[in-house]
Structure formats: C-alpha cells, structure tokens
Symmetry: C2
Subunit: 205 residues, 2 copies
Amino acid sequence: MKPTQILLADDHHIILDGLKVVLSNNDNMQVAGMVTNGNEVLEFARKYPIDLVVLDINMPELDGISCARILKKELPHIKIIILTMYPQKSFVNEIVKIGIDGCLLKNNTGKELITAIKRVMGGQAYFDHLKAFSDDKDEVIRFKLTPREIEIIKAISNGLKSEEIAEQLFISPHTVLTHRKNILKKLGVNNTNQLIKYATKQQII
Amino acid sequence: MKPTQILLADDHHIILDGLKVVLSNNDNMQVAGMVTNGNEVLEFARKYPIDLVVLDINMPELDGISCARILKKELPHIKIIILTMYPQKSFVNEIVKIGIDGCLLKNNTGKELITAIKRVMGGQAYFDHLKAFSDDKDEVIRFKLTPREIEIIKAISNGLKSEEIAEQLFISPHTVLTHRKNILKKLGVNNTNQLIKYATKQQII
DNA sequence: AAAAAAATACCAAAATATAGGTATTTTATA
DNA sequence: TATAAAATACCTATATTTTGGTATTTTTTT
C-alpha cells in the first residue's frame, strides 16, 4: 500500500522536526512536506498529492482554522487533523462545521498522533480530547461571538476605550457599550480584565 | 567520551517526543529523562547524574525560570538551556542573573538545539536569539516588575477589583492603587486592558 | 551601617466601565 | 419572503479605574 502522504504545518520548526521524526518511524506514513503557515499549506496542497494535513491552529498570515475551511472546500478529499496547544472551546463549533477529521492536543505523545492519523485515514473521526474540546457544546454555541464582537474585543485588548473604538469603527459609542455588555454576558465574565485574559487564552485575539 | 546526559522538561508531551528523537540521532547525547514540570526537574536532577537540562519556561506547578534559579543554586554544575515559544523580554534580566547557559526559541530547527547543546557543554554561552531576547536590556531592567507587582497583575487578570485584591493580600486598597499606578508606568501602558494583553503575551501571568 | 528598592498608605478629581433597561435597522438564513 | 441573527442607538445610575500628588515603613543590597 502506498504510504499516506502527510503535510505538517506549524510555525515552530522544532515541532515540525519532532513530528517528522515521530512519523518517519512509521512505514505507511510519509512526510511530504513541512510548512509554517496556512498560505503555504494551500500552495503545497494544490501542487502535490497529499492525503492528510496536520495543522496547528496558531500560525501567522493564515491560521489553521481558516486554512482548514478553504482546504475542505477546495480539496475535500484531504483529511485534516488539528494539533493545538490548548483546547479552544471557541473553535469547537467551527471545527465541527468545517468537517475537520481529527483534533488533538500537543500535550500528547507522538504515538497518539499516529493513532489519530490511522483512525482518520480509515475514515473515522478522531477527537481524543473531545471532552476538553466540547464538554458543553451547547454552551459553546450559546457563547459564540459574532465577527463584530471579536473586532470589539481586539480593540479593547489594544487598550482603546469605548469612545475610541466607536471612532475607529464609525459607529456610535452607545453601540460599542452595547457590544461590550453582550460580550461580557455571552462569555460569562464579570469585567474586561477577565475578558481579555479569557480571550487571550482562547486565542480569540 | 561519555555521552552528555540530558533531561528534557516541557509540559507538552509531543514536544518531548520530538526533542528526544532529534537528540537520539546524536551519539554523544543521551536523553536521561523527560519531565513535565519544574518540580519533577528538581527531583530528577537530585536523583540522577545529569549534565544538562533543556527547560521550557511555561510549565505548571514550577515554571522554568524558578526551576532554573533553584537548580543553579543547588546543582550549579548542571548546564541549563531555556527553550521557549516566544522571546520574553521580561525574563532576560532573570536569565542573565541566574546564569542560564543558553536560550533558544522553539521556532528553530532541531539542528540548532544540538548546536546549542554542544556549545554550552563546551563551556560557552549560547544565546542565538540574543537580539530577540534583549535588544534593549536597559529598557527591560527599567521595566522590571517586583514580585508584589506581579502578584497584583495576576489578581487583576483574574478579574478582581482593587478592593478585592486588597482584601486578598491583607493590604489597604490605597496600596493596591499605588501598585497599579506603578505597574502601568513601568510597563508604559495606558490602562489595565493593555496591561493584561502585554502580561499575557510576555507570559508574566 | 548607610543607601536603595520595595511595599505600604492616604487624598481628591476626572475619566471610564458596568448594570439595568428599550428599540430600530440591517444582514443572513431557512 | 418570512424569520432569525446581528448590528445599531439611546437613557440613567452606580461602580471602578485612572491621574496626580505626598509620605512612611520595611526589606534588600552595598
């Protein structure tokens, strides 16, 4: 059987190096390429016949999730496994929607990645940390932020005050205040400080 | 020559796995152990004769920097290389003070780690990303936070208000306000929102 | 023991955020 | 084309942070 052609994507070379060696020990898997951002993933996937991509979420230029979305539309036969540092609930929704095949945390052995790849190539989904990722899916959905809200959060985290945000987005300061209220409520946090910590950890910003 | 005995410390197993394989290809280096937090590093180092530790900064229980500090006092012959995700200016000072032997970013090839280890074992320091780490050392020193200030920042990021922080630390609310003022001034940020973003990115919290 | 750094405490005014609402318009989606 | 979701806007009151000061005590370093 032809070995599974795998593309590795992570902006940290040392992780790529590690992953490569881990997978190289396996006869029916071959690392076809290693790239460091989402755009390079697309370029590579359009050019070479790969079977599976291991995608880090946080990459410069084009992040893993956005990349996966494009990839699944353009080349739906390519399997996608997301490899991330932390469980990011904010993405569960997207992950399911896009049709990503597998998800696992970096806090995991190489063996587990191999298991995941095998499972996914066999047509099954692999969400080892399903619990961590979606232990309360409804909650996640309920808390889903709108694009505008994410814009607002980013502005807040940059230290802009409501009035400045309003100017920047050409809307009324009242609207900004409303957004802020909604955001706090959705995320179940009490104030902006908690919001920023949460958003940073969840890598919304 | 006896191979260099190396202890790897990172809270992400997949990185440990990767590092191990990368180093295993080298005859005069041997991975003596792999651990996932600072306390385990200390336990291991007290028990087994290791030559060098590769330390991640961000680990649960006992972080890399604190661990290095203890290690250098207790077992000064052990070389320490810090391996971190981002250049964290806030730590440059500490790194120099503690006498850490090397520093490199995870965004780096395995080859570079091997080079670093060789260099460090040869008695030299290895700060490949010295520039990233300390392109403005004076600034870093000027901006250095006191332990108390870091405590305050953590509390703020948890969403506590000044009064609550005061209660928690058994000090006057006025003192908390003073600390907050000093922190903002030291870090050159305009408000708490910027502070939290900065602190999170720099991984002060 | 002296000097420097860190932690402590207080005052007062101005600026901002938060909490409680209601309500209309625009944009997606079924 | 209905319907739902998102974005918009406003009001009032209270809570909290931020700014600009001064100053003493404790701890650390030289």
